[in-house]
Amino acid sequence: MIRKPVSKPAKGIDPSQRTVVKLVRPSKPDSPIPSYDMSRGSGSERAAIPLVTGKPWGDRAFKNLTAGFAGLILLLAIAMVWELWLAASESVSAMGWHFFLTQKWDPVLDHFGALAFVYGTIASALIAFLIATPFGIGIALFLTEIAPRPMREPISFLVEILAAIPSVVYGLWGIFVLAPLMRSHIDPFLIGWIGKPLFAAPSTGLSLLSAGIILSIMILPTIMGISREVFQAIPRGTREAALALGATKWETIRVAVLHPSRGGLLGAVMLGLGRALGETMAVTMVIGNRPEISANILGPSHTIAAVIANEFAEATSDIHLSALAELGLVLMGITILINLAARILVWSTASRLQTAGDDS
């Protein structure tokens, strides 16, 4: 029953299929072996014959088709940057470097400075990152290493369901539940115990911190999900080796699980950060929408995505629209930079690991 669909994709993808299986589900020690057997049992000789005759046009067509898809993505990205650049040109020539160096955003006087929005975007994403990282990785560790087997799937399902909630619902929850809670309990506590400059009165509940908290909940599933995959990709033998050497549970986790998965965890966290940077609706509902740079994270702030969503529809002057397009370009730049940084970090840790003799 299983054989038929397996034999159809034919020989060419056999090796890659094996590695995929190996990467995704190695924690179940029995699974790689039957699936490996299965692909061998599909009959390599039988599949090889149609493949030779089909190669000339079938392979080429498939190659061209998929290359076309990939190229289309590239084209789309270039076209988007190009269009944004065209739309932003008026603001670029009018504001020049002042766009990046000033924080006054005044559509009436046609003065547009992006600094406060850039600050708010990065600060809110950073707060989210600081809160969500320990939780995300902690939950993933608990689920793969500590939790009893029957608990794992339900908990991970519940966390993943967080990703399915629309962001406007998070925003409403933020306005009606989180903001009052912050205003009446958490903010006064922070002001009293830690105080200035990070936590200063007065608190309205709508703040950089509230936005960061909402964002942290929104990126938690991303971080948790990928971390869990990463931990599961570590061969069981590594853990067993650590245990056999007399390591305790915690030492095993530290040496055999956390250490070799540093690269993957970085990737998980950076993906979460990337998501936090671009979030719009939930953030604009709780951040207070005030473009200013202040060390006080209980004060209102503003983000790039939020101001575009807020002002685009009613922007009447050309330069205002153009400045919003330039903000879009800036946001794109920030996201690309962060993703690049993540890639470089992952590569460098991966290569270091390889030279150290570990394999992942």
Binding site: K104, W105, D106, P107, V108, L109, I175, A179, P180, R183, P202, T204, G205, L206, T284, M285, G288, N289, R290, P300, H302, A306, A309, N310, E311, F312, A313, E314, A315, T316, S317, H320
Partner: protein, 349 residues
């Protein structure tokens, strides 16, 4: 070859079928949308004409009108002279309805109806007046129990016609506001928190004690918020309401310019509520498609007669009758000169 020709024919048929189904397309103001959609459905019941309207914001509506994507726009703010030149034909501003902006606040233990002068209001939104028991407020409201709470300002974070009316009013009554902030659909607010949409500002005011904000009248009434009484030009403190808004428009008629691009904030007359404004339908003076022009003229005329009666139930203020007469004259000028050129041009499409 045959296949290609056939599919080409099918391709050409689809758009023409669509344009037959949707007789008019409009876009713009979100403020007028509840009233406008009522109009369109009632008008459709009566005449069978379909009007499609996208409530995407006044600014976006203006842009779509200028590029010719829609047949008419709707805006809470007047178009600039510069923008008006970008249209294919001259553009008419036709007042369609009116809205009032209520100043709402949340002061526990204090009743509704705190009186304010324009100076006090500007002072609060400029950040000069920081406490509710400020001397100026206390002097104007003797005998009222006003706590010494910090004032927290709430404003719109999204560009909006409500903001446009409010800042236009403040610019008119306060030289300092005009110099420091100015008027527009989005401005650089000296103080306060921003909420996206009337509902968010109303929500902020409802939640935060000591807060003050501005929302469309309907939101103040529906959320049962306390509202301030603002002194008008005649020294009176009228309640923000449908009637006082219509009164403001009525007292503006004498000074109304021929193109209706008028502000009706801070109007004289003892019943005139000072912070209100028109929503305009923006239409071209000429359409290449004469049939379309006639459909639009018929609809606009209907909106002045039957349409105005539907306003109050939805918290919109009807236009004063004397103004309606003037607007009807303006509506009648659409394509009145030479409809024939229109027919020729439409052949070219």
């Amino acid at each position: 070859m045959m296949k290609i020709r056939f599919s080409l024919a099918a391709f050409l048929l689809i758009p023409s079928a669509l344009s037959f189904a949707l007789d008019l397309n409009g876009a713009g103001s979100t403020f007028i949308y509840p009233l406008a959609s009522k109009w369109f459905s009632e008008y459709n019941k009566k005449t069978g004409i379909k009007i499609n309207y996208q409530s995407i914001g006044s600014g976006a509506g203006i842009r779509q009108l200028l590029t010719g994507t829609v047949d008419f726009g709707a805006s809470d703010a007047t178009m600039s002279d510069e923008d008006m030149k970008k249209g294919k034909y001259p553009i008419l501003h036709l007042p369609a309805t009116m809205g009032a902006v209520a100043i709402v606040y949340n002061l526990p233990d204090a009743p509704t109806g705190i009186k304010m002068t324009p100076d006090i209001l500007a002072g609060i939104f400029l950040g000069d007046i920081k406490k509710w028991d400020d001397k100026a407020i206390m002097a104007l409201n003797p005998g009222m129990k006003i706590p010494g709470q910090d004032i927290s300002v709430a404003h719109r974070s999204d560009g909006s016609g409500t903001t446009s009316i409010f800042t236009e009013y403040l610019s008119k009554v306060s030289p300092k506001w005009l110099e420091k902030v100015g008027k527009g659909t989005a401005v650089n607010w000296p103080v306060g928190l921003g909420g996206k949409g009337n509902e968010a500002v109303a929500g902020l005011v409802k939640q935060v004690a000591g807060s003050i904000g501005y929302v469309e009248l309907a939101y103040a009434l529906e959320n049962k918020l306390s509202f301030a009484l603002i002194r008008n030009q005649s020294g009176q403190y009228p309640l923000p309401s449908i009637e006082t808004t219509t009164a403001a428009a009525a007292s503006a008629i004498e000074t109304m310019p021929a193109d209706f691009r008028a502000s009706i904030t801070n109007m004289p007359g003892k019943d005139s509520y000072p912070i209100c404004g028109f929503t305009w339908i923006l239409a071209f003076k000429k359409y290449d498609d004469a049939a379309k022009a006639k459909t639009l003229v018929d609809f606009l005329t209907w909106s002045m007669d039957e349409g105005q009666k539907m306003g109050p139930a939805l918290h919109y203020s009807p236009l004063p009758p004397s103004l309606i007469q003037k607007i009807k004259v303006a509506i009648a000028t659409i394509n009145e000169n030479d409809p024939k050129t229109g027919v020729q041009a439409s052949k070219g499409d």
